[in-house]
């Protein structure tokens, strides 16, 4: 009796928490499907969740009013580039630090550990000044390169590779493989979880990037989604249905990714906590 009561209380708590977590998302999705004029007046009523008649008008409006496809492409391209380049560059450095004997290793490792402390916000202003002086705004590169080499990613790879069993690499070495071949043929295939975790973490931290693209993009050409929605939000005419529809379209691809690869997302985030 007491046991089943305790279980009921647990479910009740979980359900209440879930309702609070989901409500904002539900209001967003439902608002996106309602005629513009009804979004704000009904936002505080039950019709915010149970709209009755639905329409796809807002989505058509957004596609007509903004270059949504371009913003989506920009975001996907920039983030794919950061993740892919980052995996290559940071894993190589992590491997060299974890497994190779070389002059300068100690200094580089100390440097990486020291830079772990510096959050991006601490360098945004001088970096903005630097790239502006170099005439380097409004490009994909300026949104990709500063985020490719990442001290935290290097550190994560370094700890992952330290845990890899040495026998595999020994075998490759006996076969006469150098560091590069060993890395490509042995380390990469055997460290897939490490790569997946770092990829997920990089993506999660970069996907929502707002401050930097806000400072270095002027026109829509290379503007990513997070800045695009903030811009759309302040651009007349202010239509809440359209804004929410923009939001739904913007988060849908990531939610889909998340639902498909949920295990990796959770493992990646958990890994950051355990290693950190």
């Amino acid at each position: 009796m007491a046991h089943s009561l305790r279980r009921a209380i647990r479910y009740l708590l979980l359900a209440a928490a879930a309702a609070l977590m989901v409500a904002p998302v539900a209001i967003m999705v439902v608002g996106a499907l309602k005629p513009d004029a009804r979004v704000l007046p009904e936002a505080g009523t039950l019709q915010a969740l149970f709209p009755g008649r639905l329409t796809l008008e807002n989505f058509a409006d957004v596609l007509g009013r903004t270059r949504f496809g371009l913003f989506l492409f920009n975001s996907l391209f920039i983030n794919a580039a950061i993740v892919a380049l980052g995996l290559a560059v940071n894993s190589l450095a992590g491997y060299a630090l974890a497994r190779l004997r070389w002059r300068g290793r100690g200094v580089v490792l100390a440097g990486v550990l020291a830079l772990l402390v510096i959050p991006f916000e601490a360098i945004a202003v001088p970096l903005f000044w630097q790239v502006t002086l170099l005439g380097w705004r409004d490009t994909y590169l300026v949104q990709i390169l500063p985020f490719t080499a990442n001290a935290f990613a290097i550190y994560l790879f370094y700890t992952f590779f330290l845990e890899l069993p040495r026998e595999l690499e020994e075998a490759a070495r006996v076969d006469g493989a150098g560091p590069w071949r060993t890395y490509l043929a042995v380390v990469v295939p055997n460290a897939r979880p490490a790569f997946a975790s770092v990829a997920v973490l990089t993506f999660l931290t970069q996907w929502g990037a707002f401050l930097w693209p806000l400072m270095v993009t002027s026109g829509p050409a290379v503007r990513p989604l997070p800045v695009a929605i903030a811009t759309f939000f302040t651009q007349p005419p202010l239509q809440w249905g359209d804004i929410l529809a923009f939001g739904v379209m913007m988060v849908a691809p990531v939610l889909l990714l998340f639902l498909l690869f949920q295990g990796w997302f959770v493992r990646g985030v958990a890994a950051s906590g355990i290693k950190g």
């Binding site: 989901v22 904002p24 936002a43 505080g44 190589l92 070389w102 990486v112 001088p126 929502g208 929605i229």
Partner: protein
């Protein structure tokens, strides 16, 4: 023919070079530049020559009530959000760390806001905080208090702007902390709980003597990451309140970006950035000391 154990310096440098160059150019160099700029009069696009000003920029920002208020806001934000979010995340993690059916679904729902870009979250919450009875948050509080709640304009009310941003931030971030703590919980060996049960510890005793000590490092990590996040606060402020009313929700990074980007006062922004970095450094060093005192 196995390779002899030799010095691998050339290969190692070829592997590490891209990362080292990237970190040097995009983290190390701007970091040095920030310190350099903070001691000058540099302004974007000014035809006047740049002068060396010594500590003048620091003197000015530390004498500026607006900046001090921004610093205090960051501190307040950390003091409220860090314990609250950690406790909530721990509560959710404990609820999920049970043999119950349907848990993966709940985990998905709690984690879902984490994949929402903060700028989108901020825009949606502007609607949720709409003033008057039509605002969802106002309506919900009215329903919860059987009509005793009088509707407020949260984002334009000096007393409510920062708390409103806190709630939004917790909503978006709690799932992240929860997942980390859940992993920490699952890493605690079951034998410890069994041993504690044999010693006669109840549920609460097990939590105090097994769960908390087992989570020690994970908790320290979560607290430190959340504290640093609290000082990095920018997106929500910029989109939801623009730092207002007055300076009620201004933050250090928001002030720095405003100075450097909107008012072209790069040197002033750099000085604020340096102050921000020193705070983050202090928090991190504190964490390392705590971790070193372990056992």
């Amino acid at each position: 023919m196995p390779r002899p154990l030799t010095d691998q310096t050339p290969a190692a440098w070829s592997m590490a070079a891209p990362a080292v160059a990237g970190l040097a150019l995009f983290v190390g160099l701007p970091f040095l530049v920030a310190f350099g700029l903070a001691f000058t009069s540099a302004r974007l696009g000014s035809p006047l020559p740049v002068e060396f000003l010594g500590w003048e920029q620091f003197r000015r920002i530390l004498a500026d009530p607006a900046f001090l208020r921004a610093l205090a806001n960051n501190g307040l934000f950390a003091m409220v959000v860090v314990p609250l979010q950690t406790v909530l995340a721990l509560g959710l993690a404990l609820l999920l760390n049970q043999p119950l059916r349907g848990l993966p679904l709940f985990r998905t729902l709690f984690f879902m806001p984490v994949v929402f870009p903060m700028s989108l979250v901020a825009v949606v919450w502007v609607l949720l905080y709409a003033p008057g009875g039509t605002g969802p948050v106002n309506a919900f509080l009215g329903w919860l208090s059987f009509g005793a709640w009088s509707p407020r304009d949260f984002l334009h009310d000096p007393a409510w702007a920062l708390p409103a941003i806190m709630l939004t931030s917790i909503w978006q971030g709690v799932g992240f902390q929860m997942v980390i703590l859940l992993a920490g919980l699952q890493a605690i060996p079951a034998e410890r709980y069994e041993a504690a049960a044999i010693d006669g510890a109840g549920g609460w005793g097990q939590f105090l003597h097994v769960t908390l000590p087992g989570l020690r490092n994970t908790l320290i990590f979560v607290v430190v990451v959340t504290s640093i996040l609290a000082f990095r606060l920018f997106d929500q402020v910029r989109i939801m309140t623009q730092g207002g009313p007055g300076e009620a929700s201004a933050t250090v990074i928001y002030a720095a970006v405003r100075a450097a980007f909107e008012r072209q006062q790069v040197a002033r922004g750099a000085a604020m950035t340096v102050v921000f970095f020193l705070i983050v450094l202090a928090v991190t060093l504190l964490q390392r000391r705590l971790l070193r005192q372990e056992r």
